[in-house]
């Protein structure tokens, strides 16, 4: 959840629930940290309801570490292994009901 190599790593967790006012870039840092600790072929699936809200919030927050390192080869290579999927309320409603 914190910038790579700049803070202590979180303990390993098979399942983790993070609630409360976490910073908008926390999921990104978590992805980077996780993919740094897995094999080179490890991948992540990121599921979020709204691309617009997520991107706007992330840009508005303007994380300093991501601003400096987000486009670097090392970080970009890890994030290229993240598959982002957007789901909608209507789809879920139709699927369950």
């Amino acid at each position: 959840m914190f910038p790579l190599r700049h803070f202590p790593e979180l303990p390993y967790a098979k399942t983790l629930l993070v609630r409360g006012e976490y910073h908008p870039s926390a999921p990104i840092h978590f992805c980077i940290s996780h993919l740094s600790n897995t094999d080179a072929d490890g991948t992540a699936v990121f599921i979020t309801p709204s691309k617009e809200v997520f991107v706007n919030t992330l840009v508005a927050y303007n994380d300093r570490w991501l601003g400096k390192y987000g486009a670097s080869g090392e970080v970009a290579a890890k994030l290229s292994r993240v598959k982002v999927l957007f789901v909608t309320r209507i789809l879920i409603y139709a699927w369950v009901v």
């Binding site: 609630r19 409360g20 996780h34 309801p49």
Partner: protein, 201 residues
Amino acid sequence: MHGLSKSRATSSYPSTLGQLAVVLSMLHCPSSESPEVDPRLVMSAPPTFVILHEMSSLFADPDLVYVVPSSSVGVVLMIWKVNLPRLSEGHRAGSGYNDQPFRYAGKVRMLESPSRALDLKDIRNVNLVWFDSKLQNLMLPALPKPDYVNEADEKHYEPISVGKVAEKYFEWVGEVSVGESLSLCVCDDFGGVLCLVGVLW
């Protein structure tokens, strides 16, 4: 390096809900038994990490609160073509209702089990993380209390936080609060963050 990395990223932007449903239902890992399909719908390997992000916002509309519990976790399961049991009238009125929806959360563990139905034969180590800033605002029971309820079932309709129920299904639960130090993370240079967004999408 940037361009090379981005070329390896796979993102799907279905323009309609119907297309999105098709994409999600077809997403799977390749196997010898699977016919040839569009490579954009096939993951080269099972994911090691699944992140749910702000799923509670999907259910901010009170008219849709009824589908809160099972579908939150079901989003993940749907990708692997697992059909959750529907909440029939029998489920709604039965004992243990409050636990019923989140019982499905345990099915995430199915991702670790080889199964022909899941199309995932190699999964052994899938981590699940759920980020949600508004989970505490969701309450169970998700269904309105009927006009008549047996005394034995009365307790199942007592309000309870979805966050409290979810705790039982996660190895670690992190509570995050805003501190003064967070302001130090903000800078004026948006370039890197915008590039990051470009890498993800």
